[in-house]
Amino acid sequence: MPSAAEATAPHKRIVDINALRKSYGDNEVLKGIDLHVRPGEVVAIIGKSGSGKSTLLRCINGLEEFQDGGLVVDGKPLLYDNASAMRALRQSVGMIFQSFNLFPHLSVGRNIMLAPSLVKKRDKTAARVQAEALLERVGLEDKFDAMPEQLSGGQQQRVAIARALAMDPKVLLCDEITSALDPELVGEVLGVVEGLAKEGMTLLMVTHEMRFARKVSDRVVFMHQGRVHEMGPPAELFGNPQTAELRQFLSSLQE
């Protein structure tokens, strides 16, 4: 385990969020978030519905605009009105959605090849070789020419992971990526995520799978009403919650 000083040294941070505030109209949804993530760290974000978990993730790759505070990923600050800065930042950050969001008009292979070809100007053969390798990594090497609608939810989500990885991101954001899946398909997707964690990918994942969070994450962040309410290693956070809100949240999950 790195020491606390090491963990907070600015040059060791891959995601650096400072005093971030975000409102929808009059409704302040994020009320000053500070979060610093080391390269290779796996952070699980938990909390009640509406506590701002998705909004926080979506701020990190600029899908939502925030009003105050700062956000730096891999040394690249988030600048909304600078298209090339935005493009650079988004190449460092991959995102996987609850609803997969594969492109339904493109085959699995083309889903994966599209962004590297356009953004990284990778030539066709190179993009194809990479896509095939990624499909093998998520256990779908025979699905290159399949259309997304021909796949199960679990398979679609694994393609979505491969598609995000094709951009060689430094950080992967996962927003409840197994919530839309039938229970028997959850395992195959979590297996892939666990593999990524072991290989040293930096992960920020919003999840309701507490057992998974406990097993895979280095740190758990409990969000409550737009704030980071409690934060710590999973054993501590789950084993010895400090605040009444977290205790209540954890006991509500037992039912």
Partner: protein, 218 residues
């Protein structure tokens, strides 16, 4: 002695006028398609900036009679001392009218593509143009083709109104020929038949495409 007109004379002249109708329709459709596409892209690119302009434009042309738009384009341009041919007046009015309808049809199609598709594109660092071109447009196009083709029929019939500013398309030609031949029924029956021959294949195509896209999307 009164000149005698054979049916062939009538038909020949009407077919010539029908060609003008086709030409005017093509001008309206191509011009309207281009203007409509520009409007749509502006609207989707920056909704906060162009949203209200777009809505006003569409409401203006959808909410007033095409006849009035033709009059305005004809007399309006003259009012500013711009002498233009009926081609320009009619072409301009029909282009603007068509652009408003096409832009609104296409906006609906783009809006029906789930937001998650844009977001997936954005997360993969695609620019707005790339998201539109490679992700959203191919999906929206499938939905847009049947209503777009169907609207072409409206445009063809709409060109008949250009007769009021003196454009000698099919309807006006029919009127003039009926006046000299004293065979209004024959003439207008032929006019109707020619419109039908233009529009019916298009309607059929639209219906076929609609079935086909429904089959694809199940």
């Amino acid at each position: 002695m009164m000149p005698q007109f054979s049916y062939w004379d009538i038909l020949r002249n009407l077919i010539y006028a029908g060609e003008l109708t086709v030409m005017l329709s093509l001008i309206a459709f191509i011009g309207g398609g281009i203007v409509g596409m520009v409007l749509l892209l502006a609207r989707v690119w920056r909704p906060q900036v162009f949203g209200s302009v777009f809505n006003i434009y569409v409401q203006l042309f959808q909410g007033t009679p095409l006849l009035m738009q033709l009059f305005l384009s004809y007399f309006g341009l003259r009012l500013f001392g711009i002498e233009v041919s009926v081609w320009v007046s009619a072409g301009l009015a029909l282009t603007l009218y068509t652009s408003a309808f096409l832009a609104e049809i296409w906006r609906g199609c783009v809006a029906s593509i789930p937001k998650g598709q844009w977001e997936a594109g954005a997360s993969l660092a695609l620019s707005f143009g790339e998201q539109m071109r490679y992700v959203v447009a191919p999906q929206a196009m499938r939905i847009a083709i049947p209503p777009t083709v169907g609207f072409l029929v409206q445009v063809i019939k709409g060109t008949a109104l250009a007769s009021v500013i003196g454009f000698a398309e099919l309807t006006r030609a029919g009127n003039m020929i009926a006046n000299v031949t004293y065979q209004p029924f024959t003439v207008f029956a032929t006019v109707g038949l020619l419109y039908f021959c233009l529009c019916y294949p298009i309607s059929l195509t639209a219906r076929y495409l609609e079935r086909k896209t429904n089959a694809v999307r199940r």
